[in-house]
Symmetry: C2
DNA sequence: GCGGAAGTTGTAATAGAATAACATCCCTTT
DNA sequence: AAAGGGATGTTATTCTATTACAACTTCCGC
């Protein structure tokens, strides 16, 4: 039986008012862009919002489709990828290589660790910030003279809720 | 300046007689398949050999091309992917999600940890087996009730040789 | 305001990675 | 020899991502 979740568990793990996640992420993104002197255009903001729609990573073509259906526009793939590239560059989203999908960055202010726990059933992805993981990686790398630049951790498994359901 | 490599550093990090890597990998694969009662066919063996050709991960379509050029065959993508699926299933190769590429598994006998240091310059990928990394991951996962199934670590950076050259 | 420069988006075509569906072949077992 | 299962071949297609170029917007100095 899965252990009871602590109140410190990431929001994505528990039921929560998700509209607040989204608005918080958008606010933070606005500020971040102001600070960096770059423009969070309508398109970029919309893509960020779509990515934040849930805690499940979203494919570029899913975003494309939602832009087509919900908004009036019908942009081509490059338009979406460019928006995503922008958001990636400014640490507002992450790309999950194992899923070819994108997800909102939960803590853009910190060093982006790019550590994710991905539930294979409900597809929810939770971002971690475990310095212990990074440290273990750094130490191993140092041992063979490898200079770490972008560590990436993606762990597939079953989240606590899906374990309960099983 | 990068630190001197210890003699325990993985082979892939240093110059070495690579034909021995390959033949050792093939031998081990043969045995593993016998043990498991599955068939290491000519095609599968050939794909494994191609993947082991170097310590740089190889794309499925690269394999395809080499099969076309070096051997007489001209198989379609499904043929190659099926061979790769087989090899993956039996832990004889790994797939690097961040590169869409495949690489020989250095220690199929152990639990496959799927930890890689990938040099962005020479593209060499070194497989690690750091239980410390897995442990850090497990602990973090346990904290939020997540059941780890397939941890995956891919670290992009600069290997020691490429640091020296720079 | 005007014009240019930089940045952003639109559009069409294409490249790259992976799979579906079905046919054929081969090996084993009886 | 026949049957069954596993392996491979073949064709077409899906999904992911990028190249190259055109059009438009925003910003800034004049």
């Amino acid at each position: 039986m899965p252990p009871r979740l602590s109140p410190q568990a990431p929001l994505a793990c528990r039921p929560h008012d998700h509209t607040r996640c989204v608005s918080h992420a958008l606010d933070e993104a606005e500020q971040r862009c102001v600070t960096r002197g770059v423009r969070l255009t309508e398109l970029r903001k919309r893509v960020l919002e779509l990515v934040w729609q849930s805690h499940q990573p979203l494919g570029a073509y899913d975003i494309l489709e939602q832009l087509s259906q919900q908004d009036g526009r019908r942009p081509g793939p490059p338009t979406v990828y460019r928006a995503l590239d922008f958001l990636l560059e400014h640490d507002l989203v992450h790309r999950l290589a194992s899923l070819n999908a994108f997800i909102g960055c939960s803590h853009p202010e910190h060093d982006q660790a790019c550590q994710f726990l991905i539930c294979r059933q409900c597809r929810t992805a939770v971002e971690l910030e475990q310095s212990a993981i990074n440290q273990a990686i750094s130490e191993a790398a140092q041992g063979i003279g490898f200079a770490v630049e972008q560590p990436m951790v993606e762990v597939v498994g079953l989240c606590s809720r899906c374990r309960e359901d099983a």
